[in-house]
Amino acid sequence: MVNWILLTVIILFLLWMVFIYNRLVALRNEVKNAWHQIDVQLKRRYDLIPNLVTVVKGYMEFERDTLERVTAARTRAISAVKIRDKAIAEDMLTQALEGLFAVMENYPVLKSNENVMQLQEELTSTENRIAFARQLYNDLVANYMTNREVFPDKIIASLFAFSCVEYFSAEKSDRSLPVADIGIGTK
């Protein structure tokens, strides 16, 4: 009689271990996927920017500085390889774009141009998507880490070497408000 009970307990225990292990694996893969989803949206932004710059250049003669900053930031972001560099370059690109949009406010003729409006919408959507993708990534990381650190599951996690994952965080420069560069070329 006791043997049966013992056997059941052991089987249940093993089943529980398998269940937890599988769940941790699934969560970890979701986290990895979410990270790469961010890259998909970043690529979309790279592709849209040259179009915007070309259309806008004809109207904004005096804003050469701003336009050049955007193009340079984009090139740097594409060529960055390491994750750290990439994150920094991407943030700089976001800031450069924000500066460009702020300056475009001064040109009512430009703002009402059909192409520019479409591109602006697409870029706004892309920025949103990047933000949402990062948000999702962080939510999934939180979920994974919680599952990894909760008491009974903690044992399995350390047993099978489920490692920590980093959150996506803002650079220190991001935490200050962006300053819009509205200098109209008085050299």
Binding site: A34, E61, Y107
Partner: protein
Amino acid sequence: MPLTFIDIEKKKSWRITVLFIFLLFLYFCTTFALVQGFLFLFPYAIFLLNPIFILTEPRYLLVIIAISFALAVIHFWFSAFRSVRVVMDNINASPPDPEDGLHRRLMNIMEEIHIVTGNKRKIKCVVIPSLSMNALAVADLRGEAVIAVTEGLVSRLSRPQLESVMAHEAHHILTGDCLETSIAAGIFGMYASALEKMMGSGEEDSLGLHPSFLLFWILVKLGNLLSMFISREREYRADAASVRMTRNPLSMAEALYIISRNWTGTGFISSGLEMLCIVSPQITSLDESEGWWADLFSTHPPVNKRIEILLRMARVDISTLETKLNVETEAFTQDTPEIPYYALDAKHQWQGPYTYTELASLSWLTPRTWIGSGNEQTIMKASENKLISKIFTNRLSLTGKEMSGFICPFCRQPLTDVSYEKTKVHQCNFCGGILVENVKVPRILARTEKRFTDRVKSLAKAVIMDNQRSIAIKKLKGVGVKTKPFISCPKCKNPMFRTFYSLAYLIEIDKCGVCNTTWFDKDELEMLQYIIENKITPKVDVFDPEQFS
């Protein structure tokens, strides 16, 4: 203490699950009550001889459960299986048009919602061609899910507000709210219509119901109330989830505020679909009185309460919201009051009123035109009004000329680099004034390639005579005559010294002592060249002021 959206979502989820299970249980109780009622009424039904209580006979219990379950499944299956298709046909919805800017925005937002929910389920969005403002979410057993938005909503909400609304609807789909609502509607709907039939068979309006069905009646009503309650809880939860997704409680509050004050589709969206909408089309001012009776029987919580919860999250006051949105709607309703501009034309007639764009297309407008701006009744030169001078900047940039960094002192526009007598000078596109470095002036005066028009020739002679006279008057009067204010150097902004080029050549010029440049007004350089080349000096019969001193 304001609850965060995470707390709200968790609390409501727990409550909803428990209540839904209770609802299903209630469904079975209702079935018992129904059958019990029948058995009281027809005690000799089927093969029974005595009235019995079902609950004392377990065998019958199982039979009843099985039958009621089967009925529920069949009814539910048929109603929920193709419900998406049915609903879509009902409301005449169509997919969004990718070439339309606002529809494109809707499609982009749908894509963003997919990203933020991790692509768990593919949701389509469609547009209802109605001027009302509302959004529905429908999902069925085939896995199809659709969010339908009215044209009124698409056009009148800003981007963040539209994102919040879509996130709310998407959450309904993802948590299976739509399916469960259909279940509740389906299973109780069956009994509700059965009840109506039973009551309708009596001739009086009052309870024409056999007392044996009293329990049944009570339970059906209870089931109705419960399902309404669950529906309201779902709405709160979806609001919280929308904030979790967009992290913007303010835009959700704004969207609810705007929608609730507009036509929400009463009469257009059929009453069966109201449960799926974001704001109930059946809202009237009576319902909004928030009496507990009204609360009990509506599928949606009162909009004011929803807004209040969201605003608490955003830490914003309701009055701030109202003023902000009323200002915006006023801007919609009136024509955005365009500032009327008046311009003084060459004949000294005031022309106008013009709008800004009309002003920009006036061909005779120059930076030196006098402009009256309608509201403040101020009159200034076009160059002094920042907005209007942008017109000129745009015109200038469109000519594609080479810009220098210097600004014309009269027109406030950049000077363009032009070649004059084969040397580079800076000219204003609008007033024709020229800035020349002092070292270049002798060069220009020496070169004789420029042909002078008759106009310039006559002008030169007339100007010299005029200047002669004014010198004489000035000396005879002995007092300083009022002169035009000194202009500032385009290069270094210091005031320029006004003088004649020389006493022999009486053309007025402005010189800057600091950066050694000279400013010639329109035609002055040409006149100077002309008189120097042709050695036109003033005639000698000028008054000699010395004889009077």
